[in-house]
Amino acid sequence: MAFMKNKGSRRSPFAAVLVMAAGLALTGGGYAAATAAVEQVKPASAVASAAQVEEGRKLFLANCASCHGKAAEGSAAGPSLIGVGAASVDFQVGTGRMPGQASGPQLEAKKVQFTQEQIDSLAAYVASLAPGPAVPTEEMLAADGDATRGGELFRINCAMCHNAVGAGGALTEGKFAPALKGVESKHIYEAMVTGPQNMPVFNDANLTPEDKKDIITYLKYVEENPSAGGYELANLGPVVEGLFAWVFVLGLIIAITIWLGAKSN
């Protein structure tokens, strides 16, 4: 090698080796650090092994392909799932809405038909088709945000359909906004991100992850704190109150009237 022979050079024969070692250490270390940082940012569920994707593909072909197409491209019976993301799969399958049992104005939540492991595989497969919203991490779901702020955001963005305390409500032509009591935080978050069925999408530019956390905090607060004012009659508002007044109060008034008018024997 040239540097061995060139004794007259000012450089030490080990200079090149040192430079190369330093370069390698810098790039390699940098790469390792960068990968670690990326790994940290990625939600845990987004890291899917090829085996899991393959498992998901098999489940998909067996259970979903008849409506959504063999490559999730969609058909007349079901929409395309390309780009809906893992969050959508986790919500739809995790609440039992998918696979749907019967067509109607709205697919309802029912008994979940897959294990969480299978749902994760399905989600990994659908997420591998095209990028989409990922399943939220534990940290995004912890109900430790600002319930007051969450309440205001809920009233502005959600209450018109879901009722001010999340009791649910009616929509048009047989559709309805389901009650949010007892719904897992994960599913509430996923619904906001993906906009299932007739619910609009609330992306992170509209409601930031922090906003979503506050909303979940508010819903959990409402769920855990009983109504202080007495029996809330399912919180459904004037319909339930009116029904109660007509059936029970009016019935009581009629009964009293009959008693007053009846002769004693």
Partner: protein, 346 residues
């Protein structure tokens, strides 16, 4: 009171004056069935029952005493504290006590009247409304006397000036209606939106980029600057609130004059229902229907928000929008028609 004295028809007047209104009296008309035969109560027949009823009434009154006393006890024994659940317990027990207190008196009093007080059927005769001839003649006499004594017919000057005074005296009252104003002027026709106002998120007031609005998204929008208003903030919000939706541009039916009002499938409509002004914000992503929660007026977002169901009579006004150099959504102008429910001048 005996039955006889009440039911006997010893009045001087005929019981019915059919000649007054009924032209034909059918021969087989229903006969007045009269009163049912009097039924003697158990409490009238046996002293045992009478005493039992008396005890029941007293027991009901005593229940009332217990209820009232319990309400007083509950007020002190279950006070409302910092903990919210105590409100429920306090109001529940206090209410139960007061209810017992009132119901005991009420039911006891009625039970007393029904079982122990005199039990006689009473019927009141209906009399014709017309007075007797003597009464009518006397009334005319009084009016004539009053006229001659006051000189109302004789003193023309006084009478006519009185007519004038009576005609004019309500005028000041009508004039005062003017002070109910000021007239709203054109405030119902204009909102905070003007050319270049950025669309901002409710309630944060942060401006919205067109790229933030993905298909199927709904944004609840206020004009930028509304959050900083010091006066009439709610009034301005009540007029200017807007709902922003992004649709697939292929789904939208747009008239030629409104072609430029949307931006890449993003449309903005007034959130104020044209029926009675509730916020219309129940957006269905698949049907693109906007539903008003108050009276179920339904608007089709793909078709200029025309009314497809319900009592609203006009489509929701559309806010013409575009983007500025930085990509933020801005209004092209104010609404081109008044928002909200109908009023007389529109």
């Amino acid at each position: 009171m005996s039955n006889k004295s009440i039911t006997s028809a010893d009045s001087q007047e005929p019981e019915h004056d059919y000649a007054a209104g009924l032209a034909v009296i059918p021969a087989d008309r229903l006969q007045d069935p009269g009163l049912e035969p009097h039924r003697v109560r158990m409490t009238d027949k046996s002293v045992k029952h009478e005493k039992a009823a008396a005890r029941q009434v007293a027991a009901l009154f005593f229940t009332s005493i217990v209820g009232s006393a319990f309400a007083v006890y509950a007020y002190f024994a279950f006070p409302i504290t910092e903990e919210l659940g105590t409100v429920r317990l306090n109001t529940l027990l206090l209410g139960l006590g007061i209810t017992l207190g009132l119901l005991g008196i009420g039911i006891g009093a009625v039970h007393w009247a029904k079982t122990l007080m005199p039990d006689a059927e009473v019927s009141e005769e209906r009399h014709i409304a017309r007075g007797s001839e003597e009464v009518r003649a006397r009334a005319v006499e009084i009016i004539k006397l009053a006229d001659s004594e006051s000189g109302f017919s004789r003193r023309k000057l006084i009478r006519r000036s009185l007519y004038g005074a009576l005609a004019l005296f309500p005028l000041p009252a009508i004039m005062i209606f003017g002070d109910l104003g000021p007239n709203p002027g054109d405030t119902l026709r204009h909102t905070m939106w003007k050319k270049g106002t950025r669309l901002a998120k409710d309630p944060s007031g942060l401006p919205i980029k067109a790229s933030d609005v993905t298909i199927g998204s709904v944004f609840h929008v206020i004009p930028e600057g509304l959050s900083e208003l010091e006066h009439h903030k709610l009034e301005e919000k009540a007029k200017a609130a807007v709902l922003l939706v992004r649709l697939d541009p292929a789904d939208i039916k747009e008239s030629d004059e409104r072609k430029s009002w949307s931006y890449d499938g993003i449309v903005a409509y007034s959130k104020i229902c044209t029926h009675v002004g509730c916020p219309v914000a129940l957006y269905e992503q698949h049907t693109h229907h906007l539903l008003c929660p108050c009276h179920q007026s339904t608007f089709d977002v793909t078709d200029a928000c025309k009314v497809v169901f319900g009592p609203a009579s006009r489509p929701l006004p559309q806010l013409p929008i575009t983007v500025d150099a930085e990509g933020y959504l801005i209004a092209q102008s104010d609404f081109t028609e008044p928002v909200g429910p109908s009023f007389w001048e529109r």
